[in-house]
């Protein structure tokens, strides 16, 4: 197996997910009290920055199996949009609104984009064109 060097996409994605999970726990553990949004916004901003950094780092990889990446990531994206939509539906059913709703919705967007990116990357990084014959 060839050992190519790749940017730390998995590590950054896990850190990004951990930040939005921490923001979600922070907000939900204070219900129904009013809670300062700043910590959750900072965590979300950090998570979004990691997502952007991951996408930029990935776009600079040479000879990456983009066909394989998109083939897997697009279906994965569909699946995770359904999951994120289910969670958003619960938030709306519980009359969540204002700042917390915005923060949690954007967190779901980061989640729904970053996980498929990670899945596509994991598949594509190990992809080697099959020999003919």
């Amino acid at each position: 197996m060839s050992e190519r060097r790749f940017p730390p996409v998995t590590e950054l994605a896990m850190l990004s997910l951990a930040l939005i999970v921490a923001g979600g726990i922070y907000l939900s553990s204070h219900i129904p009290n009013h809670v300062p949004l700043a910590p959750a916004v900072i965590l979300l901003a950090g998570s979004t920055a990691l997502l952007a950094g991951n996408l930029v780092a990935l776009s600079r990889v040479r000879d990456f199996a983009w066909d394989r990446f998109f083939q897997v990531a697009k279906w994965s994206l569909l699946g995770y949009l359904v999951i994120a939509g289910s969670v958003e539906y619960v938030f709306l059913q519980n009359h969540l609104k204002g700042g917390p709703l915005v923060v949690l919705t954007l967190s779901l967007v980061v989640f729904a984009v970053h996980v498929p990116t990670l899945v596509g990357f994991t598949v594509a990084r190990f992809y080697e064109p099959e020999p003919v014959g």
């Binding site: 197996m1 998995t10 994605a13 896990m14 997910l17 951990a18 999970v21 921490a22 979600g24 726990i25 939900s28 553990s29 204070h30 219900i31 129904p32 009290n33 394989r68 897997v72 279906w75 994965s76 699946g79 359904v82 999951i83 289910s86 969670v87 539906y89 619960v90 059913q93 519980n94 989640f111 996980v115 990670l118 899945v119 990357f121 994991t122 598949v123 190990f126 080697e128 099959e130 020999p131």
Partner: protein, 205 residues
């Protein structure tokens, strides 16, 4: 059944003298998608009607499935798979992993969405709830488990299936990804013990 062959890993031992036969399989079982759709429909209906029994049923049934599957996979099946011969492991993997690809995200979504709605209905999510600390502990355990499952386990699951779909799968890649999958499942299995402790504490008050 279409079968493809793969060279064996070098360290596979004497039993690994020939090529591995990889049975034909679907990465995502299409028939299973129908069942997933039905379950998600039930989830939406349960949340919409907001009645205690459907929410409790979906949360408990899917939560129990999630816990048991993680414990069984991580602590029982994982070590067994590690000791299987490469051909047996490949055959088992092609039968197990596509199902896991549908089962795990579905039971996790059902557990969390129904659980959140249930907690709102019962008031256990409120910070005034006497055992609120335990509820927050459950958020933290589920959060850590989610990061491990989404960051390590699920991508490895999909990647190993895509690799096995190739005409000549690379055994080194499969070994590496399966190791990652089994270790992640083991950690999740151990963390599920914490979930059991927290949930039983919340139930008994």
């Amino acid at each position: 059944m279409v079968e493809v062959t793969a060279p064996l890993p070098p360290a596979a031992g004497p039993a690994a003298a020939g090529p591995i036969e990889v049975p034909d399989f679907e990465v995502v079982p299409r028939k299973g998608l129908v069942l997933v759709g039905v379950l998600l429909g039930l989830l939406v209906a349960a949340i919409a009607v907001n009645k205690l029994w459907p929410l409790e049923f979906l949360h408990v049934a899917s939560g129990a499935a999630w816990t048991i599957i993680d414990l069984f996979l991580g602590l029982v099946l994982g070590p067994i798979m590690g000791r299987m011969s490469p051909p047996a492991r490949v055959e088992f993997t092609t039968k197990l992993m596509p199902k896991m690809l549908l089962i795990m995200p579905t039971v996790v979504t059902l557990t969390l969405a129904a659980g959140w709605q249930l907690a709102n209905k019962l008031g256990t999510v409120l910070s005034s709830y006497p055992n609120h600390g335990w509820v927050v502990a459950s958020f933290i355990v589920v959060g850590v488990m989610s990061v491990i499952a989404l960051g390590l386990l699920e991508p490895a699951n999909i990647a190993v299936l895509v690799e096995l779909k190739k005409r000549r799968p690379n055994p080194d890649v499969i070994e590496r990804l399966m190791k990652r999958f089994v270790y992640s499942a083991g950690i999740l299995g151990l963390m599920q013990i914490a979930t059991l402790v927290i949930m039983t504490k919340l139930r008994t008050g």
